[in-house]
């Protein structure tokens, strides 16, 4: 009950100087992002669970392997995975205060993300027009479009976020001090990536 001295050493100077750093020494915003990602895991978990619960239960319409274009989707997956690398390179460049290089890598990340989304739009378009698979064709159509669509929406949100960061850098409003902000965008980006690995494996690759 009397270990008073033990806690005297706690350093509170951070809290005084940077309102974003808490008494544990961790950044509020980063921790908030982790909490959000934990929550988003449950979100995608529920959607993937729904897909699996309805797998093979469709009573009409094409089956997954009638419509999937695995080479195209593999290319998309590779794009998204590669974009995680450019995201890290952007972060590393910003840490060295090479703002223009960082902006370049951010732009490359956003471009690959955008390419992924456009591939998905093309994929959806071929499903609708060549395979007669829409939201209301079958349980497969409903579960597939809603699950991958929400992932695509996450990627789109990430692309917008990255482009806003690029525009900040362009206007000279982004430098080494904003490292954490870019890191948080990166956390989100990597998470969306990982979700795609799960979706690609569970929905596309497992027969």
């Amino acid at each position: 009950m009397a270990d008073h001295a033990a806690t005297h050493a706690v350093d509170v100077t951070h809290a005084v100087h940077d309102p974003n750093i808490g008494n544990t020494g961790l950044d509020h915003r980063k921790m908030g992002m982790w909490a959000f990602l934990g929550s988003d895991c449950m979100f995608f978990g529920s959607l993937i669970g729904t897909y699996l619960a309805y797998k093979g239960k469709s009573i009409s319409g094409p089956t997954p392997h009638d419509v999937f274009d695995i080479p195209l989707t593999s290319y998309s997956a590779a794009l998204l995975l590669a974009s995680s690398l450019t995201m890290v390179l952007a972060l590393a460049a910003l840490q060295d205060n090479r703002v223009k290089v960082a902006a370049g890598w951010l732009l490359a990340t956003a471009a690959m993300g955008l390419h992924f989304v456009l591939n998905q739009v093309y994929e959806f378009w071929t499903f609708v027009h060549h395979h007669d698979l829409t939201l209301s064709t079958s349980l497969f159509g409903s579960t597939f479009f809603v699950l991958t669509g929400f992932h695509g929406a996450h990627v789109t949100g990430g692309v917008i976020w990255l482009l806003l960061l690029v525009s900040l850098a362009w206007r000279g409003k982004l430098d080494r001090r904003d490292y954490t902000k870019v890191e948080i965008a990166g956390l989100y980006w990597h998470f969306v990536d990982i979700v795609w690995i799960a979706i690609f494996t569970i929905i596309y690759l497992i027969p």
């Binding site: 009950m1 808490g22 529920s46």
Partner: protein, 621 residues
């Protein structure tokens, strides 16, 4: 930026104009003001939902009554349940989270003050959206758990379900944003020395609740998204004709819905765990065990959802598994009740109003828990499902549990929040009327359920033997209403001529009692250092083992106060909430509104994020 001179003791603050005052509340990011906003809005919604309950009880007071139609009755029980759960009990808990978490952990605000304001304004827009359905004459009528496929276009062709669906979706966003905020606040903003196991138990229970919120709400978010796609874009998720399974909704809903039960009760448990030691003048008995029990409840809360679905025929394996987990989850709850009773044991108890409500909580919640364990057995549950027995059970845990606990908190923290003590005599009158009214209302419903009265029927024939106890139940409901009238009178009387509260009117144990009532805008002039659980009590009274009270710290200097930085007010949260409401309500009006609202939301999110990108005064980096 708020001028620091305004914090100086004795500083003259210009009296604001009326509109200035309104604007200051609309743009506030102060966790205390947001707490008051949450509390007062929740109380208004509580009165609305209570009125709906009274109309239902009037309708059921005698057989073959024609006060309301069957359709209106459906709307009443749907709105009563939805409002009480999402707009009354949850935000009342949120009021205490907002007001008390920073005070009890020794912080000056939450981690994200503007996000906190955003949560509140989204909550209000969700609540209003749900209630606009009355004006649109399309009131939700599918029950608070809106089972599929009753909610499909075929069976609910009007916008009634849409109001419910989008209203809940908006409220979910608000709860999750608040959840992220409080998680970070509790982990990251504890005063120096406040290790996790030194945190007050209310903070611990709030902490577990936030985990439940951020992990359970996504399930209902997905369930509602699937429903939205079914209703708006022709998907087949809940359509049996296409091979879809309406049970998908039930699983997703209750994966959220059962943790939600603990989201509603854990904060009240936390409040009781603060009130009992204060009024027994004894440390909480086995506080670490209460904390571990709370964590256990949080974990198990995710593993019991299907006990809401025994009657749908999941098969013996699933029934047995969920029956066992449900019986197990009663154990940590029982541990807590034992600990609370042992806290009282041998204490020098002062019978004041907050303690009355806490004792009421223990007694009523125990009864609700006992009828709950009965449902854990599938054969028993099959007898009780959809009868008034279930209605009695969940009112014993939600009213007898949550509401008693929350009002214990209201009486306990009222002096801290307003600087005035609520009247003790009226408080006790409130308690006794509520206690008697509550039991007269809900105890007979156990019996009514067991003799076969189904829930959600708008009337019944006179020869079923249900007449007398239904009348008794109605009389009880009006006694409850009277008790809240007494509470309102108490609040008004106290506001006009209440006893002024000292900083520490109850001889409290936790940090909020160390600062003035009501607290200054910056809460703590000097961030406290914590050396123990019940640190403030030990400061005042010593450790009870011969240790002397700690020497008082040096008085705070004006220079220290002048150095405090508080975040300035911001109008982006309320604008952003409005834009989101515009976007979502557009789904019922016009796609153009959705697009304009969506772009506006995106723009305002950007402005929100950029507001403090570069602090104007050069601080912050």
């Amino acid at each position: 930026m708020a001028t620091h001179a305004a914090f100086m003791p004795g500083a003259k603050v210009e009296a604001p104009t009326f509109w200035g005052a309104v604007a200051s509340w609309l743009t506030t990011v102060d966790h205390k003001r947001i707490g008051i906003l949450y509390g007062s809005s929740a109380f208004i919604f509580f009165l609305i939902a209570g009125t709906e309950a009274l109309i239902m009880r009037l309708q059921l007071a005698r057989p073959d009554n024609t006060l309301v139609s069957a359709q209106t009755f459906n709307e009443l029980f749907t709105m009563h349940g939805t409002t009480m759960v999402f707009l009354a009990i949850m935000p009342m808990s949120a009021a205490f989270f907002n007001y008390m978490i920073p005070l009890m952990i020794g912080a000056r605000d939450v981690a994200f003050p503007r996000l906190n304001a955003l949560s509140y304004w989204i909550f209000i827009s969700g609540g209003l959206f749900l209630h606009v359905s009355f004006l649109a004459k399309a009131v939700p009528d599918g029950g608070w758990f809106g089972y599929a496929n009753l909610t499909s276009h075929q069976f609910s062709p009007t916008h009634s379900i849409d109001f419910w669906m989008f209203g809940l979706q908006i409220l979910g966003i608000s709860s999750m944003l608040a959840g992220f905020n409080f998680l970070v606040t509790i982990i990251n903003m504890r005063a120096p020395g406040m290790t996790l196991m030194r945190m007050p138990v209310f903070i611990w229970m709030s902490f577990v609740t936030q985990f439940l919120i951020v992990l359970a709400f996504p399930a209902i978010t997905v369930a509602l998204i699937l429903l939205m796609f079914d209703r708006f874009f022709g998907t087949l998720f809940y359509s049996p004709a296409a091979g879809g399974d309406p049970l998908l909704w039930q699983h997703l809903f209750w994966i959220f819905g059962h943790p939600e039960v603990y989201i509603l009760i854990l904060p009240a448990m936390g409040i009781v765990s603060e009130v009992l030691p204060t009024f027994a003048r004894k440390p909480l008995f086995g506080a670490p065990v209460i904390i571990y029990s709370g964590i256990t409840i949080g974990f198990f809360g995710f593993g019991v959802w299907s006990h809401h679905m025994f009657s749908v025929g999941m098969g013996p394996v699933a029934d047995a598994a969920f029956s066992i987990t449900t019986m197990l989850i009663a154990v940590p709850t029982g541990v807590k009740i034992l600990n609370w009773l042992c806290t009282l044991w041998g204490g020098s108890i002062r019978f004041q109003t907050p303690l009355y409500f806490s004792l009421g909580f223990i007694a009523m919640f125990t009864m609700g828990g006992l009828s709950g364990v009965m449902h854990a057995s599938p054969p028993v549950d099959l007898q009780q499902t959809d009868t008034y027995f279930v209605v009695a059970h969940f009112h014993y845990v939600l009213f007898g549990g949550s509401i008693f606990g929350l009002f214990s908190g209201a009486y306990y923290w009222w002096p801290k929040i307003t600087g005035k003590l609520l009247d003790e005599r009226l408080g006790k009158l409130h308690f006794w009327l509520m206690m008697i009214g509550f039991n007269v209302t809900f105890f007979p419903q156990h019996y009514l359920g067991l003799i076969g009265m189904p829930r959600r029927i708008y009337t019944y024939a006179g020869d079923l033997g249900w007449n007398f106890w239904n009348l008794v139940s109605t009389i009880g409901a009006f006694t409850i209403a009277l008790s809240f009238l007494v509470f309102i009178v108490n609040v008004i009387k106290t506001a006009r001529a209440g006893r002024v509260a000292s900083a520490d009117p109850w001889d409290g144990r936790t940090l909020e009692w160390a600062i003035p009532s009501p607290p200054p805008v910056y809460n703590f002039a000097r961030v406290p250092e914590v050396h123990d659980r019940d640190d403030f009590w030990l400061q005042k009274h010593g450790d009870g083992h011969g240790g002397a009270p700690r020497p008082k710290p040096a008085p705070v200097t004006a220079a220290e106060i002048a150095a405090i930085h508080m975040p300035p007010p911001s109008y982006w949260p309320i604008l952003l909430a409005l834009a989101m409401a515009m976007m979502i309500s557009g789904l019922l009006i016009s796609m153009y509104q959705v697009i304009v609202g969506g772009l506006l939301t995106l723009f305002l999110m950007y402005r929100f994020a950029m507001e403090h990108h570069r602090p104007p005064d050069g601080h912050g980096h």
